[in-house]
Symmetry: C3
Subunit: 338 residues, 3 copies
C-alpha cells in the first residue's frame, strides 16, 4: 500500500473525503490517534478508519492499520483535499518593483507590494496584501497565504508556509541605556528561514542586530509567537502558540515547546527538549528531557490559601529548625538557610 | 424613562457628551460604577451622573439612578456618540470577485480584497485593507473595522465587530510526527462566528482541522487572543487579552476568562466559570466557580527566597515525618510520599 | 572624540561596517558590553572594538574605550549604516483623502490609506499598506514602517517608529454585563503617543473609553504587547515582548518590564520599577525596586513533586502547629491560620 499500512475490509470501499469519527457519513475516512476518542469507534458511520493495531479489533468498518495513524491520515487527507496550485501570474493590482525577479510560474496576489531586487521562486504564491521589502528571497513552492510582511533581505526556504499577519524581519528590540534615555541600536541583520518551515498567523520574527536570526529546516511555529533578534531555532523543532523567545537564545533541534512559554535571552536549550505550556525558562537547559514550570489552577478559595502558604514559606524553614533542635532530630542535608 | 432608571434633579438638564467624573465639564454626563472612583463624585463638574442608589446621596448634580449604572451609561453614550453608519457602495480601489454578492447597502473600503462566492449582508462595513477568502459569509450589520483577514468559508454573524489585524480561519496547528520530521495535517474546516461577537485587534482564530471552530453568540474576545482549531466557545463568554486556548477545547457559556490565561487542548470548561488572569488551565473544569493559578509578584529579594523554599519543598515532607515520628504525633491524613 | 570615548591604537584604522566579535573581519568594528562574550575578545578579527576600561587590557586590536560601550556602539552603527531618508512624495497607488495635509517632504508608500483631516509632518514615512483613520496627526520624522493601523484621532510624536502590524487606537475592551449579555461601552477616546517612542510589530494599544490612552516620551515597546484602554505609560519606560497591561493602569517613568508580564487593570506602578519576565502584577507597586513572580522550569519529574507539595501546602501549617504544641515550641509570629 502506498501509505505503508495494512488495509482490512473491502478493498473497493470508495472514499471521497475525510471526517471525524463522531460525525462521519458513508464515503468518508476518519482516524483514531488520540485514545480519548476511542469510544467513538463503535458507532462511527465512516466507511473506513485509519488506526493503530491496538485499536483494530474494536473497529467494525474497513480500516487502514498503521504504525502512525495520524501521519497516515495526514497524507490521505492531503490527497483527498489538495491545496489549489499557484495560478501563474502577477495580479494587475500588485505593485512589483521593476527589478524584482518573479518566476513565471509564481502567483502574485492582489495589492501585493514587492520591493526592489526581490526574487520569487517557481510555483510560489505571494498572497493578497503581502509586503516584501528589498532583496527578499523566496525559494520555490513557498506559500505566503495573505498579508505577510517580510523585511529587507529576509530569505524563505522552499515549501515553507507563512500565515496572515506574520511579520518577519522587523527591528529587534535593542536599546542602550544612556543617561536616563534609550539609544536605538541599529538592527542590521535579517532573518533566514529554512525549507519546510511553517509560521503561524500574527507570529513575529525579528531581524538580527548584526547577524541574522535563523529558523532552521522543518521548524513549525504556531500563531502569535514572538522570536527576538539573533535567536536560532534548530531543525524540526515545534513551538505552540503565544510563546516568546528573547534575543540571542539558541533552541536545539527536535524540541517541543508548549504554548505561552517564556524563554529568556542569551541562553541555550539543548536538542530534544520538551517544555510544557505556560512555563518560564530563565536558564540554559543542557540535557534532553521534559521540563515544566506549570502551576495549574485550583478553585480560587483554595488557591488563595496555597498562595498565602507559599508566601509564608520562608517561615516554615525556621519553624522546622526550631522543632528539630527541640526534639533533637538532625536537620535534613539540604537544610534551608532563609 | 427609556433607560429604566430614575432621574433626580432638573429634567431639563442638557447633556451633549460623556466625560469621566474627574475631568467632566458642564454639558457632560459621567458615570460611577467602580467604587474606586467614588471620591470623585464630590467635585465633579458633570451636569449629570449615572450611578447606583447606594451612591446617590453623595451626588450633588442631576443624576440617573440605575440598578446597573455601567450598562445605562453604555446605552446613553451610544446615543450621544453614535457610530457612523455604513456608506453604501464599493470603493473603486477594492478588488471584488465578479461572483461575490455585496448587499447594495454595504460599504466596501479602500483596497479591500473580496474573493469568489463571498456574500456580504445589509449595512455591513468591510473596512480598508480587509482580505476575505472564497465563500466567506458576512451577515447584516457586521463591522470589519480595517485589515481583517478571513479565510475560506468563514461565517460572521449579524452585528459582530472585528478589529484590525484579526485573522480568522488561518490553518490550525496540526502536524503529525513521522520519523523525526513533521507531516502537515491538512486543515479543512473553517470558522463560524455567531451574532453579536466582538473580536479584538490581532486576535487569531484558527480554522478547524475537519469540522469548524465555533464562537457562539455574544462572545467578546479582547486583543491578541489565540484560539486553536476546533475550539468551541459558548455564548456570552468574555475573554481578556493575550489569552490562548489550545485546539479542540470547549469553553462553556457565560464564562469570564482573564488576560494571559493559557488553556490546554482537548479539555472542557463548564458554563459560568471564572478564571483569573495569568492562570494555566491544564485539566477540565466541571463545575461553575472561580478558579485561579495566579502567583503575584513580590520584591525580587523576597521572591528569590520564596522560590528557593518552594524548590526545596519536597524535603519539608520528609522533615515533618521525621519530627512526627520522633515526637509521636500522628501524620496528617494527606501525608505526602515524596 | 565625538563619541566621548578614548581611542587606543592606530587612529587611521579604517572602519566600514559593524560586526560581532565572533565573526568580524578586517574593516569592521565590534563591541563588548555583555561579559558573557568576553572570551571572544582574544580571537576577534575586528579592526577595532568598543569596550569598557575594565575589558581594555584583554583587547589586542584598536579600541574605543567607553563608559557605555553599548551606547557608543549604537551611535557608531547608526553612522556606518544610516537609515534611508524619506523619499518625498505620495505613491500613486496610495489613497489619500482630499483634505489630508501631507508635508511635501513626507513619503507615502504603496497602498497606504489615509483618511480625512489627517496631518503628516516633515520627513515622515508612511510605509506600504498603512491605514490612518480620520484626524490622525503624525509629527515630523516619524516612521510607520509598513502595515501600521492608526484609529481615528491617534497622535504620534516626533521621531517615533512603529513596526508592521501595530494597531493603535482599536476599541478598548469595555462591556457592561446586563442580564446575562454584554452591552458594548462606546470607546470614544483615542491614543496619544509621545516623541521618540518605538512600537514593536503586532503590538496593540487600545483607544481610551472616554479620555485618551497615553504613551509618554521615549517609551520603547517590543513586539506583541497589549496595552488596554486608558493606560498611561511614563517616559522612558521599556517593555519587552508579549507583555499585557489591562485597562486604566498607570505605569511610572523609567520602568523596565520584562517579557510576558501580565499587569492588572486600575493599578499604579511607581517610577523606576523593574519587573522580571513572566510575572503577574495584581496590585499596585508603590516603591521603586525589582519585583519578581517568575517560577523557573525544572525537570518535569521534580516539578510534579514540587507542585504536589505546593498543593498540599496548607496541611504543612497544621502539622507544624501540632508538632509545636506537642513539643512545647512556640509558634512563629506569622503563624498561619489555614
Amino acid at each position: 500500500m502506498r501509505f505503508g499500512c495494512e488495509l482490512r475490509g473491502d478493498p473497493d470501499t470508495r472514499i471521497e473525503r475525510v471526517a471525524t469519527l463522531g460525525n462521519a457519513s458513508p464515503g468518508s475516512i476518519a482516524f483514531l490517534a488520540n485514545p480519548r476518542y476511542r469510544a467513538q469507534l463503535a458507532d462511527t458511520r465512516a466507511s473506513a478508519v485509519v488506526l493503530s493495531q491496538a485499536a483494530a479489533e474494536e473497529c467494525r468498518t474497513a480500516m487502514l492499520v498503521s504504525q502512525n495513524p495520524y501521519a497516515t491520515y495526514a497524507r490521505i487527507a492531503a490527497i483527498l483535499h489538495p491545496l489549489s496550485a499557484a495560478k501563474p501570474g502577477i495580479d494587475p493590482s500588485a505593485a512589483v518593483a521593476a527589478d524584482a525577479r518573479v518566476d513565471p510560474t509564481a502567483q502574485i496576489g492582489v495589492f501585493a507590494a514587492i520591493g526592489p531586487e526581490v526574487s520569487i521562486g517557481a510555483r510560489s504564491v505571494v498572497g493578497p496584501h503581502c509586503v516584501l521589502g528589498a532583496k527578499v528571497v523566496i525559494a520555490d513552492d513557498v506559500r505566503l497565504v495573505a498579508r505577510v510582511t517580510l523585511g529587507e533581505g529576509v530569505r524563505i526556504g522552499a515549501r515553507s508556509v507563512l500565515h496572515p499577519g506574520a511579520v518577519i524581519g522587523a527591528d529587534g528590540f535593542g536599546f542602550a541605556p544612556d543617561g536616563g534615555r534609550w539609544v536605538k541600536v541599529p538592527q542590521l541583520g535579517s532573518v533566514r528561514i529554512g525549507p519546510d518551515v511553517e509560521v503561524g498567523a500574527n507570529t513575529t520574527v525579528d531581524c538580527g542586530a548584526i547577524e541574522d536570526t535563523v529558523i532552521e529546516e522543518g521548524v513549525k511555529l504556531d500563531n502569535q509567537i514572538q522570536i527576538g533578534h539573533n535567536v536560532r531555532i534548530g531543525a524540526h523543532t515545534v513551538i505552540a502558540g503565544c510563546t516568546g523567545i528573547s534575543g540571542s537564545t539558541t533552541i536545539g533541534s527536535r524540541c517541543m515547546i508548549g504554548g505561552m512559554v517564556g524563554i529568556a535571552g542569551h541562553i541555550r536549550i539543548a536538542d530534544d527538549v520538551v517544555i510544557t505550556a505556560c512555563s518560564a525558562v530563565s536558564h540554559s537547559i543542557t540535557r534532553p528531557g521534559v521540563y515544566s514550570g506549570t502551576l495549574p489552577v485550583e478553585a480560587a478559595r483554595l488557591w488563595r490559601r496555597l498562595v498565602a502558604h507559599f508566601k509564608r514559606g520562608v517561615s516554615v524553614g525556621a519553624r522546622l529548625r526550631a522543632l528539630e533542635r527541640a526534639v533533637g532530630v538532625p536537620s535534613a542535608q539540604d537544610e534551608d538557610h532563609d
